[in-house]
Symmetry: C2
């Protein structure tokens, strides 16, 4: 394997010294980029793009051509696993994801297989291998998955939801069934992420997009517990380097200490926390990734720079901070504002790493 030319992202996650604070953006390969929209149009549907390793590689690399980002992230979707389980994923125009076969009954839950990542999900592993080859050591590649709870919300609802009627109905009324569903999903995520590492992913991130809609008790029992189960089964070293793991629960601010205790390397933090306060709470246990409000990118380059400065100052001196947005970059952001953001992080952060 080629030597990494820029490893500051990996070093920051392991709290090793860096020259500047590394930065990347959630959903950096996405609709705000005209070149992404062109590739997407060429591919056909969104799933056609995800399942085509060459095109998935193309869009993964697009933001790196524009901006001096410190990490690449596999272009894929969190719903590949439920799709591989046979739930029949569709993306309808302007409607978000839908499953033809949502999981509602005991029989539905018991029928769920643990997919073989090199069979049903080979297209993802091929994408990882292709991207890793094309990156040629420029920056590390992040592999990822949804958390079991987050995947379960889509699997049980059959689509996105505002009210969580079915999935919370199952959780409250049939916790045994929900646990079985989450256990199968956790096993699937573990083997999926390990296969991504074997294929070349150098960091793993688990997106718990909907953990924040739970009570503290239910978060621990139905979301965090299964992220712990995954962490305990992950390959944490490959090619002679550590493979850091980042957990990100959107709205997970109240539970940072519990998340830090799982043995993960980094925590994603959304913008509802002050990152300096978050650092005080987790101490030396984990690195932090975040946490600029993506909406700041609607404002002027000067204002963006000011917000970057505030966050860098709040985190303070020393390694352990990966700069990022607190959630994915929005579709209607001007790419030039994203560029102003990335540059501000690199220009303003050296003073914190002397």
């Amino acid at each position: 394997m080629t030597e990494l030319k820029n490893d500051r992202f990996l070093r920051a996650l392991l709290k090793q010294p860096v020259d500047v604070t590394p930065v990347w953006m959630m959903r950096q390969a996405g609709r705000y980029l005209p070149e992404y929209r062109a590739t997407r149009a060429k591919a056909g549907s969104f799933m056609d793009l995800c399942t085509n390793p060459e095109l998935a590689c193309e869009v993964t690399l697009q933001p790196l051509e524009r901006f001096p980002l410190d990490a690449a992230i596999l272009f894929s979707d969190i719903l590949t696993i439920p799709d591989a389980m046979g739930l029949g994923l569709r993306f309808e125009q302007g409607e978000g994801p839908k499953f033809d076969n949502p999981v509602r009954t005991e029989a539905d839950v018991k029928r769920l297989p643990v997919p073989d990542p090199e069979q049903e999900l080979k297209y993802v592993m091929d994408a990882v291998r292709t991207i890793r080859r094309e990156l040629d050591g420029r920056v590390p590649l992040i592999g990822f998955s949804g958390s079991p709870w987050t995947l379960a919300t889509y699997m049980v609802e059959g689509s996105g939801t505002k009210e969580y009627a079915h999935v919370k109905g199952m959780m409250y009324d049939r916790p045994d069934l929900m646990h079985k569903l989450l256990d199968t999903t956790a096993k699937s995520v573990t083997s999926y992420l390990n296969a991504q590492v074997a294929a070349g992913a150098q960091t793993l991130m688990i997106f718990d997009t909907w953990g924040g809609v739970l009570t503290p008790r239910d978060y621990k029992e139905f979301s965090l517990h299964y992220m712990q189960q995954i962490l305990d089964g992950l390959t944490r070293e490959n090619e002679g380097r550590k493979v850091p793991v980042i957990l990100f629960t959107k709205g997970g601010g109240p539970w940072l200490e519990d998340m830090a205790a799982t043995g993960c390397d980094g925590l994603g933090v959304d913008w509802t926390l002050d990152i300096g306060d978050a650092r005080k709470r987790v101490g030396d246990k984990v690195a932090l990734q975040g946490n600029m409000d993506p909406s700041v990118l609607y404002s002027s380059p000067e204002r963006i720079r000011e917000e970057v400065a505030t966050i860098l100052k709040s985190y303070g001196p020393g390694s352990g901070h990966v700069f990022n947005l607190g959630h994915g970059i929005h579709q209607f952001v001007d790419p030039e504002r994203a560029g102003a953001f990335i540059n501000a992080v690199h220009e303003l952060s050296p003073q914190y790493h002397k």
Copy 2:
């Protein structure tokens, strides 16, 4: 005025002894009730229902006929104020609220009037007077308003939003303009709420539905500051009784201490906090209102009872707790489950008030 027959809601908000924990439900007059849907059909549009004091009174009282609730809440909408400012409110079928004239420019902001509640909003005051008369002292009547920040999100976006592009764009780029908008809105809310008290409202609640999408810094500057301004201008006593004020920021868990320091009487708490932890954090400063996940109402009466017991135990002995859901009751909940919830609170809580 008639003597109040059941004042345990007011007493709990003031931390005075009660026999059982009082309970009501946000959006208790709403679409989950078939009798509400019938009145709504009779009225015409949603705004036709809001602007008709007799029908607004009818739907306000409907849940009290079904359930032994300890408070009534004025049936209205938080967007009556921006509508009275001339923004042109419409509710389109299945689409949520829309404003014909969103506030986007400096001229738009400067043009905004402070409505006279007994002129442009007389229909709301008439509804309060009618409801108060018809309640005849059964339980106290809650008046309410949206918070300035929450109203501003709709006023600037012109509709509901997931990304807050326009309102946060204005906040980040033109904080002077945003402050002017929030100041005018805060003045309007203050006179609107004081008029509701004069018309008969016995408690006031400020709904800050979107304060939780801000950073801690911005929450204090753009949301909490204006709720404080309102609190400082409110009539806090009427008819020889205190008029308690409740603040509710959805997702406001991180800022409970700051909210409690405003001098309000109660804080609404959503289900992402343990209510016992919340009580430890605010001490004797304020009462707490909440905090069952509304989705628990999709489960069995036994499970609902179990969750009520957990929350009562977590709050612990003594007054200062108004039981409620952590957000509005969902449209598709079976009214019988709501009844099971209300009864469970009354049946299980006396042991905490000996």
